[in-house]
């Protein structure tokens, strides 16, 4: 049984049922039943057209479930039960499913859960494990999400930016359990990119590939963080980097810059440097200038201050930092780094300790604490 194939087909089959008029929750239930049947039947008798098989069975399941309603409904159903010819469908059902799962009426966490369930074909248990919540909690989140979009009709393509935001959230969750969410996000974004010709879809895909390429080098034993400058660059995945750069260049060539392309450009410049010292910080500052122009995101300004510190010296970096709100996440960590580079180890140690108290993750806190301890040891 090819589980990957089933997961790839799931969204398209749900999409067909929804387009034929099934509401989303009923379509999803019917497809789940069809998948169970596939698991039972396919090992003995594999269909030549797996998608067609699933559509037919799922549609029958949907009809069975709704048959009880009324005689009128039954008549409609008989007429409708004739499957339309397979090839040559004008609309891409999977694509519409992406937009439905990222519908603006859903909260970010609901949109993420529904996308992983319906588009990704993951089980509720897998999603719950990945997010470290009880399965019952995730089941509720998903069924609420389904109810929220129950009345949403597929009429026109939705907002690409919303879909990208959801995929980006999935990517940033890291992984736990038996599903790697970063890889799942890349898989879904790849499929989206194959269906939709949009420069920011390509930009996000490039960004994910370029970051993912560095993942093996980002942590040491016990989950210890290794900062970019200290990473073993031979452990970066050159194949993913090459693909990311290629995707990015094609996107940039369209001359419609967006924030994901700009972030990917920064990531590409890091990936391109054979040593940390070879990093083209001047160009990175220029890309951050673009990013700040494109978004009101204060994190982009914070990152820009780091880049300015590398390109023009710590003093310039501190001057850029002084224009920002000290309440920003990681402000203290950036300030600590720049103060150390400016030759103020005592002040830097103090700031690193402050940053450690505000850290959002254990590896980050430990890393910052070690930085403070290192400086305190030299200044004693």
């Amino acid at each position: 049984m090819d589980e990957a194939l089933l997961r790839t087909l799931t969204p398209a089959v749900i999409g067909v049922l929804v387009r034929r008029g099934a509401d989303f929750a009923a379509a999803e239930d019917a497809v789940q039943e069809a998948l169970l049947e596939a698991v039972r039947a396919w090992p003995h008798d594999a269909p030549r057209d797996p998608k067609g098989w699933l559509v037919t069975v799922a549609w029958r399941k949907f009809l069975d479930a709704t048959r009880a309603d009324t005689a009128r409904r039954l008549r409609e159903v008989r007429v409708d039960a004739e499957p339309p010819p397979g090839p040559g469908e004008a609309v891409d059902d999977t694509l519409q499913l992406y937009f439905l799962c990222a519908h603006p009426s859903l909260s970010p966490s609901s949109a993420v859960a529904l996308t992983l369930r319906a588009v990704g074909g993951l089980t509720t248990r897998q999603i719950a494990q990945a997010y470290l919540v009880p399965e019952a909690t995730m089941a509720q989140r998903i069924s609420r999400a389904k109810r929220t979009v129950a009345d949403v009709r597929f009429t026109r393509p939705g907002d690409v930016a919303t879909v990208l935001r959801v995929l980006y959230l999935v990517f940033n969750e890291g992984y736990s359990g038996d599903v790697d969410l970063a890889e799942e996000a890349i898989r879904l974004t790849r499929e989206l990119a194959a269906r939709i010709d949009h420069e920011e879809v390509a930009g996000l895909l490039a960004l994910m590939l370029l970051h993912h390429a560095r993942r093996a080098a980002r942590t040491g034993p016990g989950g210890r963080l290794i900062p970019l400058a200290e990473q073993d660059r031979s452990r970066w995945d050159t194949r993913l980097i090459a693909e990311g750069v290629e995707v990015l260049q094609a996107a940039l060539a369209r001359d419609r810059l967006g924030e994901f392309q700009a972030q990917a450009a920064v990531a590409a410049l890091h990936a391109d440097a054979r040593t940390a010292a070879e990093t083209d910080w001047v160009q990175i500052v220029e890309w951050y200038d673009e990013l700040v122009r494109l978004t009101a995101n204060p994190v982009a300004r914070l990152n820009r201050a780091v880049a300015v510190g590398e390109a023009d010296g710590a003093r310039a970096g501190l001057a850029a930092l002084a224009e920002l709100d000290p309440a920003l996440p990681r402000y203290a960590a950036v300030a600590a780094y720049l103060h150390e580079r400016d030759g103020d180890p005592a002040g830097a140690a103090h700031l690193y300790a402050e940053a450690a108290r505000a850290a959002h993750s254990v590896p980050e806190r430990d890393h910052l604490t070690r930085q403070a301890a290192r400086l305190n040891a030299t200044t004693r």
Binding site: Y131, P134, E173
Partner: protein, 135 residues
């Protein structure tokens, strides 16, 4: 999504506004209070925001390793000012504001005279897995 621990204290937190010891409430008031807490948890289960929750006995003991071959050191009785945790609930919500909103609701559980007790609850974020992108 982020997880938060809502901590309810026996002591150590500022006193509740409607500060009457529970044993001075009427049985109906006690039942109403417990029902409120249960309803609150049940509602969060339906919104997909509930992770876990338990009440704790006030009989806690601090324990410390005291060296090879020696029994651990335990401390007690407790000093009057020591913090004591009464119970906890873990929620998984979209925003910090939502965590504050829910803690506020939980703090409004009814107490003596059926009035909200307005107790202080501590909201503590969980340290998370590091985000994939931090560089």
């Amino acid at each position: 999504m982020a997880k938060y621990l809502l901590l309810k204290h026996y002591r150590g937190a500022p006193a509740a506004v409607n500060d009457v010891p529970m044993d001075k409430w009427t049985p109906e008031e006690v039942s109403a209070h417990i029902q409120y807490m249960q309803d609150f948890a049940a509602r969060l289960e339906t919104t997909g925001e509930f992770v876990d929750g338990q009440a704790l006995s006030p009989e806690g003991t601090f324990v410390r390793y005291d060296g090879e071959g020696r029994p651990p050191v335990t401390d007690g009785p407790f000093a009057e000012t020591k913090d004591l945790i009464a119970g906890w609930m873990i929620i998984d919500v979209d925003t910090y504001e939502r965590a504050l909103e829910l803690a506020g609701e939980l703090s409004a559980a009814p107490g003596a005279n059926g009035k909200p007790i307005h107790e202080w609850l501590e909201v503590r974020p969980f340290l998370a897995e590091p985000a994939t992108i931090t560089e």
